[in-house]
């Protein structure tokens, strides 16, 4: 096992071990909890690309590997987990069961890292499960009533996701025979499997219909948790798509479907998010819309001819990177709520980055996406041309709403906690500075700085701010407009009704089955127990038999029967 392999193992083993230890014996080694993310960060930076090795004894032969996509994801995930951990340490200082929180935190972290490094389907499934179940602990941490509700919705959808994913994996594995990830073993998957994969990862990625848990869970979780939830864990669904969705026959239709779904999510997220009153809810909806855009990128990668596919993949990676860091920063920023206006000012930077302000990571990502969209078939190329800016407007509106809410709450009586402030700054700096300069992003940066690209990036932001200001003026006059809101989780309620219907069905089935079983049991009971009348006749008959005349006539009768039988039968 080379050093790198050990590093890869330690990346997920350390947080797993410490997390378990934390739950069993809380309060030990609490201070170092966040730093368990460091090995993963180091691995992301140091481990050479495409190193992969096999642990034959683990599960059914697990392989660990780090390819380009994995490295990118690992990078921003590790940073996010690290920073959120540090911030979380400060943020939850006064919280009594902080150790328990960090126990689940580290388990979720190990799950997240594990699935990025996983080389085979089973490991991916394992770590995906560990991450999902552990993050339940984060969601219900506060113990408040709505957190519990969010938690139960979350866990139900997680279980459904797991179960569907299991079915998909079973199909893929038996079709192709190998357990390796489809993208590595260029396996092709059937349509049904593709649908199942889409739904199970869509649940995690929050695609249009499957997003219902996101606006509930993210706000319910404490700030560091929701930062990581939105920033890193939501990307696990996306990574899953990239790894698994290698559809065989209907590649084209799949691509279009993904793009459509992405666009819908983007617009839907924006439309509903704007009306939210809780800043974290707004951010949650903005995550949904951003993920929509990334889905568009993923869809595009399927539609593009093979030679230009890596372009789309890098666009998706870049966008994920950007969104992870920016959204992480914003969520951590929420930690500063109630502090001075300057802090809110600080948040302007990531907000604008998200909207795609030139020179920011957002611009680079959006440019890369547009650049990839160009080589799409014409019908899609120009429709994207027109739609993407609209999405950008949506995002700007969301950001405006968020800043407005933060602004109104920035009363200044709370003193910003130094560490939280430092954490937010760090993510912003990494997002703005490190990311664009980074090797791949560099040529994308040049492209985004060309003049016409600059305008294309700028006008949606301007249009968005104009609309926001207009709305601000209007809402002051009309209070109804001001407090109009759509309940977070919107589509959830009809869904819940559906689930209750399903449960009701179950109850009916149960009643039916039990009725049948009891009927059989009672019938058997009655059949075996002779009734009183029968008992009386049995006793009477027995006594009559004892009388000599009856017995004698039986004896004679039988003698005659035998005589006849023998005489005639001969």
């Amino acid at each position: 096992m080379t050093f790198y392999e050990i590093l890869l193992v330690v990346a997920w083993l350390l947080p797993l071990a410490v997390g378990l230890w934390q739950i069993a014996r809380p309060a030990h080694m609490l201070r170092y909890a966040p730093y368990t993310a460091v090995p993963a960060l180091v691995a992301a930076l140091a481990v050479p690309l495409d190193t992969s090795f096999e642990l034959s004894w683990l599960l059914l032969g697990a392989t660990l590997q780090l390819d380009a996509m994995g490295q990118a994801f690992l990078l921003f995930t590790a940073t996010l987990w690290l920073v959120s951990g540090v911030v979380g340490m400060a943020y939850l200082q006064k919280d009594a069961n902080r150790p328990r929180f960090f126990g689940y935190y580290m388990l979720a972290m190990s799950g997240n890292f594990g699935l990025i490094i996983a080389g085979d389907m089973l490991s991916y499934y394992l770590w995906f499960a560990v991450m999902s179940f552990a993050s339940y602990g984060l969601v219900v941490h506060t113990g408040a009533e709505f957190a519990r509700r969010a938690g139960s919705v979350y866990i139900q959808l997680v279980v459904i996701g797991e179960v569907l994913l299991f079915a998909a994996l079973v199909m893929i594995a038996s079709d192709n025979g190998s357990l390796l990830l489809p993208d590595a073993s260029d396996a092709t998957i059937s349509t049904l499997a593709a649908v199942l994969v889409f739904i199970s990862f869509g649940l995690k990625a929050g695609v249009i219909v499957l997003h219902v848990w996101l606006p509930l869970a993210h706000p319910a979780a404490p700030v560091p948790a929701s930062a990581v939830l939105s920033g890193a864990m939501i990307k696990a669904g996306l990574l899953g798509w990239m790894r698994f969705l290698q559809p065989a026959e209907f590649a084209l239709e799949w691509g279009e479907f993904l793009i459509m779904a992405g666009l819908l999510s983007a617009f839907y997220g924006a439309l509903v998010g704007v009306w939210q009153h809780d800043p974290k809810a707004v951010l949650a909806y903005s995550s949904i819309s951003q993920m929509g855009l990334i889905t568009v990128g993923a869809g595009a990668s399927l539609l593009l001819p093979p030679e230009s596919q890596p372009l789309a993949l890098s666009a998706v990676m870049l966008y994920a990177l950007h969104h992870g860091l920016a959204k992480g920063a914003l969520f951590l920023g929420v930690g500063l709520i109630g502090t001075s206006r300057a802090m809110v000012g600080l948040l302007f930077v990531p907000a604008l980055a998200l909207a795609g302000l030139p020179l920011t990571s957002g611009a680079v990502a959006k440019a890369e996406l547009k650049y990839a969209a160009e080589s799409l078939p014409p019908v899609w190329k120009d429709s994207l041309e027109m739609l993407l800016p609209l999405a950008a407007i949506g995002t700007t509106l969301l950001m405006a709403r968020f800043l407005h809410l933060m602004w109104t709450r920035a009363t200044g009586e709370k003193v910003p906690h130094p560490i939280i402030r430092a954490g937010v700054l760090a993510t912003i700096v990494v997002g703005l500075i490190v990311m664009p300069i980074w090797s791949q992003a560099s040529d994308a940066l040049q492209k985004s700085l060309e003049p016409e690209k600059l305008w294309v990036a700028l006008w949606p932001i301007l249009a968005g701010t104009v609309i926001a200001l207009g709305y601000g003026v209007l809402s002051r006059g009309m209070p109804a407009l001001k407090d109009f809101t759509i309940a977070a989780g919107d589509v959830l309620y009809p869904l819940e009704a559906l689930i209750h219907g399903l449960l009701g069905g179950l109850v009916a089935v149960k009643k039916g089955v039990e009725a049948v079983a009891d009927a059989i049991f009672v019938w058997a009971q009655r059949a075996l127990q002779p009734s009183e009348a029968q008992k009386e006749t049995a006793v009477a008959l027995e006594l009559r038999l004892r009388n000599w005349t009856t017995a004698g006539s039986w004896l004679l009768g039988l003698a005659l029967v035998f005589l006849l039988a023998v005489w005639l039968g001969g």
Partner: protein
């Protein structure tokens, strides 16, 4: 009586003789009783290990033969499939004995209990090592006789009722099996278990063979609690926890499932069974049981009854595995035979510990129990997650093989059933975990035992939970269970 032929007999006797001795140990001498019990268990494990090594190398043939009737022998033979069940029962018997000693500290007639307890295990060993249908039938009925006193151990009216139902079901099943075995021996002569099926030489008799198969399925189905015949299992939950743990999670219920796999694989042979298209109805029955068992389990508030219905559905996974025509499905079934045993016994141990130390019998009373009994609840959680099929616990591996096997045998709808039941498992297990870990304790425990929890009640569930985890994580290691199952399948399916 060569060494090879002595071993299988020794495995059976190594729990029968202690059983008979314990009958005579007076109630007071619990040290003596424990000593004899544990000695028997350890000696048995040693024998099992020796035989396992021999069969693994595949060079020695362990067989003991005693002729009861001119053309009818009592045969004990150690083969792959049999040893799978032997290992499961052997190890779990040791753990359960320790648990039972702790559990029954101040109960009445313990000598009688432990005596019948050992007899049951020897009956299970007999079932596992049976070399032909006749021996299987003898030990199968012996198991019924030995388990009855355990089911009614408490002696209350409820226990007697449970015992009566148990006997009614199992005796009818036994009778169906008897008629089937006699009829088959009339048609095909003495039936020895041979890899790949023993009915090669029988031509025609198609209807007879189908009816006999139905009789066998009723006979073994009663013990395997396949749907219409599962009524006795929940009612037998009246028995003390160690009984429900070993018998209804491992010995009795597994004997039924093991019987089904023996008959399908070693008597009919999978090809003949498929050609007579017997496997499809069995598969349908198994799937209905899986779903119905889980559905019924969802609504049980009594913890042990919920686990009982869960057993009803889980055991039918094994039957489903065997009924899926193909080596992978069968491997899944056999894996689940062991995995379900280990996981379910953890759950029953947990349930017993909760009942004994806190008097908690209902799920609704389990709020905040995680903090009060962390280790037991942790074990219970591992078991529950395994049942749902969440990796890395063992349950996932067998469900994985069942799924891939089903698709390989192009009975895709079985995957649907697997999905449905995993969902249902989640529906009835997760609320328990939720209450235990995330809800604070509401009112006082029904009757709390003072002082620290008795280690004998805590250690066994933890041990079996860790075993479940290791079985899952190290599934494909060299000497793991999976490789043993692959060995069996190799010999059974490609003779």
């Amino acid at each position: 009586m060569t060494w090879e032929s002595f071993l299988p007999v020794a495995i059976v006797l190594s729990s029968m003789i202690p059983g008979l001795i314990i009958f005579w140990i007076p109630e007071k001498q619990s040290q003596w009783r424990t000593g004899v019990n544990l000695l028997g268990a350890v000696v048995k494990l040693v024998f099992i290990a020796i035989v396992m090594a021999g069969v693994w190398r595949g060079d020695t043939e362990y067989e003991a033969r005693l002729s009861l009737l001119p053309d009818l022998d009592l045969v004990l033979r150690a083969d792959g499939l049999g040893l799978l069940f032997v290992v499961l029962s052997g190890t779990l018997w040791l753990v359960t004995t320790i648990y039972a000693i702790g559990y029954l500290e101040h109960s009445h007639s313990r000598s009688r209990f432990f005596a019948f307890f050992s007899l049951c295990v020897s009956a299970t060993m007999g079932i596992a090592l049976a070399g032909n249908l006749f021996t299987f039938l003898i030990f199968y009925e012996l198991l019924t006789i030995c388990t009855y006193p355990l089911v009614i151990h408490n002696g209350t009216d409820e226990a007697m009722g449970g015992g009566r139902t148990y006997l009614a079901y199992t005796l009818t099943g036994g009778v169906a099996l008897l008629v089937g075995v006699v009829w088959l021996s009339v048609i095909a002569g003495p039936v020895e278990f041979t890899d790949g099926g023993a009915l090669g030489h029988v031509e025609g008799h198609v209807t007879a063979l189908t009816v006999i198969f139905a009789l066998f399925m009723i006979g073994t189905g009663v013990k395997a609690a396949i749907f219409p015949m599962h009524g006795w299992l929940p009612r037998a939950m009246v028995a003390p926890a160690p009984v429900s743990a070993l018998l209804h999670a491992v010995a009795v219920v597994k004997a039924g499932a093991f019987g089904v796999s023996r008959i399908v694989i070693d008597v009919y042979g999978v090809d003949l069974a498929q050609s007579l298209n017997l496997l499809l109805p069995l598969l349908i029955a198994a799937c209905t049981t899986v779903i119905v068992g889980s559905v019924l389990a969802v609504f049980q508030d009594d913890l042990k009854r919920r686990l009982a219905y869960s057993t009803v559905s889980q055991v039918s996974y094994v039957v489903m595995g065997v009924a899926i025509f193909g080596p992978i499905g069968a491997a899944g079934g056999l894996l689940h035979l062991v995995h379900q045993g280990v996981m379910k016994i953890t759950l029953f141990f947990g349930a017993g510990a909760f009942a004994e130390t806190l008097g908690v019998k209902k799920v609704s009373q389990m709020n905040g129990i995680g903090s009060r009994m962390p280790w037991t609840m942790a074990a219970f959680t591992v078991g529950a997650l395994g049942m749902i099929g969440v990796p890395p616990v063992a349950g996932f591996i067998s469900k994985w093989y069942l799924g891939t096997g089903a698709i390989a045998a192009d009975v895709d709808w079985v995957v649907l059933v697997l999905l449905g039941s995993s969902l249902l498992n989640a529906i009835y297990f997760l609320p328990i975990l939720y209450r235990a870990w995330f809800l604070p304790q509401i009112d006082e425990w029904p009757h709390e035992e003072p002082g620290p929890a008795n280690w004998m009640l805590v250690a066994p569930p933890v041990v079996t939970a860790v075993a479940a985890l290791l079985l899952g994580v190290f599934a494909s290691a060299d000497f793991s269970l999976l490789s043993w199952v692959e060995l069996i399948i190799e010999r059974e399916y490609m003779p």
